[in-house]
Every structure is written in C-alpha cells, then in structure tokens.
Symmetry: C2
Subunit: 256 residues, 2 copies
Amino acid sequence: MRVVLSHTSHPGNIGAAARAMKTMGLRHLHLINPYRFPDPQATAMAAGADDILENAVVCSSIDEALHGVAFTVAMTARLRDISIEVKTPREAMPELLQQASAQPVALLFGTEMSGLTNEEMGKAQVLVNIPTDPDFSSLNLAAAVQVMAYELNVAAQGFVPKVAEARPASHEQMEGYYAHLEKVLFEIGFFTTQNPARMMQRLRRLYARARPEPDEINILRGMLSVTTEYNARLKTRYQQEHQDSLNIHANNQQNV
Amino acid sequence: MRVVLSHTSHPGNIGAAARAMKTMGLRHLHLINPYRFPDPQATAMAAGADDILENAVVCSSIDEALHGVAFTVAMTARLRDISIEVKTPREAMPELLQQASAQPVALLFGTEMSGLTNEEMGKAQVLVNIPTDPDFSSLNLAAAVQVMAYELNVAAQGFVPKVAEARPASHEQMEGYYAHLEKVLFEIGFFTTQNPARMMQRLRRLYARARPEPDEINILRGMLSVTTEYNARLKTRYQQEHQDSLNIHANNQQNV
C-alpha cells in the first residue's frame, strides 16, 4: 500500500501526512515533484514518523510514482461532470483491501490548492470523495490522508480477502494500452470531430471500471494491431489498385 | 454539538481543529485554558474557518466548558485499567447523535502531550479511542478532531433519532449529585480505608453508564439527604441518651 502525494506545496503537509500514515500502520510514501523536500518543516510535523520521510521515494512523474501498481484510488474534492465512478471512503475500502491482498496498490492525493489534474485522475481505477459540508469542503491535505488511513485501518480489522480474484493488469500495461489506443484512434481519423484529451479521459474511465486482466489487455491490443494491419493492407491494396489503374491508363494512352 | 479542547499547547492545533470541524459542519468550539489564544498561528491554520475561532468560548474550567451539556464523549489514547466503557468512534456515534437530537452534547479532547486527566474523563458518559497502530499511536490533536468530525458527518447521513428517548440529567445535575455523594461518603466514614479520588472515579463510571434521568438524580440525592438526616437523628438521640445517662449518674452521685 503506497501513498502518493502529487506536487505538494507545503513541506509541513508532507510531514503531517507521514505522521497520519504511521498512526494507521501505513509506511510507503511516494512524492511527485514536491515543492520543497526534504525540509525541516516536514520533519517537525512528522513528529516521530521520520522513518517514513527518510524512506519516501521522490518521483518526477505520475507514471514513475505508480510504477508496478495495479490498483489506484485517487482523491477528488469535486464531484465532476465526467462520467465517472466516485465512491465514499467507506465504499472504496473493501475493493482496495481486496486488490492489496494480491498486488501493489496506491492512494493518490493532489495538491493543496487544486487537487489532482484530470490526467492524474485518469490513471486511477476508483475516485473517492470524502463527504464534507458543501459550504466548506476545504479539507487539509494531511487531514484527508488521516481520514483515508483511518478508514483503511478500520476496514482492515477482520478483513479476509476473497481468493481466486482476477488479477488486474498493471499500471504499465494499462498505460501501454491507452497509448496504443490513442495512436490507432488518430490513425483512423477518429479524433477529427472530437477533443482527443477529453475522449481519452472518457475511455480511461470506461476501461478503469472494467478492471481488465493482463490477458484481456493483450486481446484489446491485438484488436488494435489488427486494425492497423488491416488499414495497412487496405492502403497497400488501394495503392496497388491505384497503380494498376495508372498502368491501365498508361496502357490505354499507349494504345491510343 | 460542542467541541471542547482542554489546555491545548499549540495555537496552530486550535486553528487546524477549527478547520477540521468546519469541513464536517461543526460550529461550536470551547477552549479550556488554551496556552495561547487568540493567536496568528491559529488563524493561519484555520484557513477560512476564522468564524469558528471568533465565536470560540474560552473557559477556565471543565465544568464551565460543559455547562448545560447532558452527554459528553471524551477521547482517550490509552486503554486504561479503570473499569470503563471505551468505544470506537463508529460505535459511539449513534448514541451521540441520539442524545444530540434532544439536548446539548460535547466532544472532549485533551492536551497534545498527555490527553485528558482522569478528572476530566470522569465528566464524560462515554470514552472513545481511535484505533491506531499500537507501535505509533501519536495522533495529532487536529487529526483526531478530523476523524471524529468525519465519523459524525458520515453517521449523520440519514440518521433518524428515536423518539421518546429518556432525557438524561444535565452536567450540572450530575456534578451536584457527585458532590453530594462524596460529602455523604465522607460523613459516614466510607473513605477511611479507600482512596477518595479513585473511588469517586469508579462511582462516576458506574453512574455514567446508567445515564440517569433528572428524576432519578432527585431520588438518589433524596437517599443521600435521608442518610444525613438519619445520621443527625441518631447523633441527637445518642447525645440525648448520653445526657440522660450523665444525669442519672449525677443523680446517683447526689443520692450517695
């Protein structure tokens, strides 16, 4: 179980988040481009969770931070318009624990001011919103980490993972698929009337809900490869036919 | 619903606690002898919950902070030896909400370093322990407020109070009873072989579990009053008899 903090502005929040993690038995912290880290303020706020800060992994991208992870829960303060699965912390925990029993999982938190970007949320399988007073939803970053870690700790009491659960594709496999899909959709001219970024977000949501297994990703990518090959064959045949018709035309010319 | 922070050392924690409260719709903050308040650090950490700080009530004693309150949930980090009802946050919420539907209730938090005193915990009807990793149970004060306020907010969704619930005695009624009881126990010499403070703590636990109604407190105090009156009558009778025997003795002397 990995906690990932993206682009955190205040080092004190990193320390307070580390403390919140440690009280609930979480140990592994990944930081994407923290504004200042390490920092004395982080250490002061960790108040004894220094080991978590010392072992924190600083990354330069979300893909690096989620490397090897197969299931990511991302936090969102807003209930967005995008067609999306947003759960409460309590609803999300059983699946998070189930997934964690078989492979690496992550809890992903955005910046203090603006949360996660759409691109970052697109890397997650589930979005979670901590219910707040609608008139004042400004939850402190470390407070959000505390609530999630607390819910996880409570849910973990007496949790028994189901066996023989399907193993989902890894973060790298999913990203490989999305890149492949986008390339083919460009290739076939799908994006001429669409906003590519927004359409890819929606497709990410769809496939995130499906929790594809590695074999299924192979099938999906196989379909993409065949699409490209078919297009290539079509193109070759078209060019051939075009060449043939040019030849015929040339022959006709000669025969005139 | 009142949040009471006792003897808070760091003004930043008061501000962070106010922010945590406001995110979950709590408004009323009482501070018992805060080390520094108001303070710019409190305002900075409140991050928009300034109204809660401005309306905070600073008190000089726990009895002042709990004035008018009929049901108090107190936080404890330690699972003590004393015979006591310690619940998880989730277990405590239904009763807290039920009580809050009929009269003022309080959530009581101790200091950063040592939590609540035994005397302070003796004023509560229920103790709550937030489950943590036993190797690192050092929950930040504002983080504890956040977890409790969050649990309360979740529990409040769709909560419907039961009607015709018995109305418990107020904080003042209970304190009046305990003072009366202690006085009578001294009067009858109950404490000669007991530690009075410890014994009163145990009696507080017992009566806290019983959630006495105002009428029942009247009955209990009635019993105490009758005990005192009976003792007084006994004493008068003893003195009368003693006087009588002295008189007889004197008469006998005269008759010699």
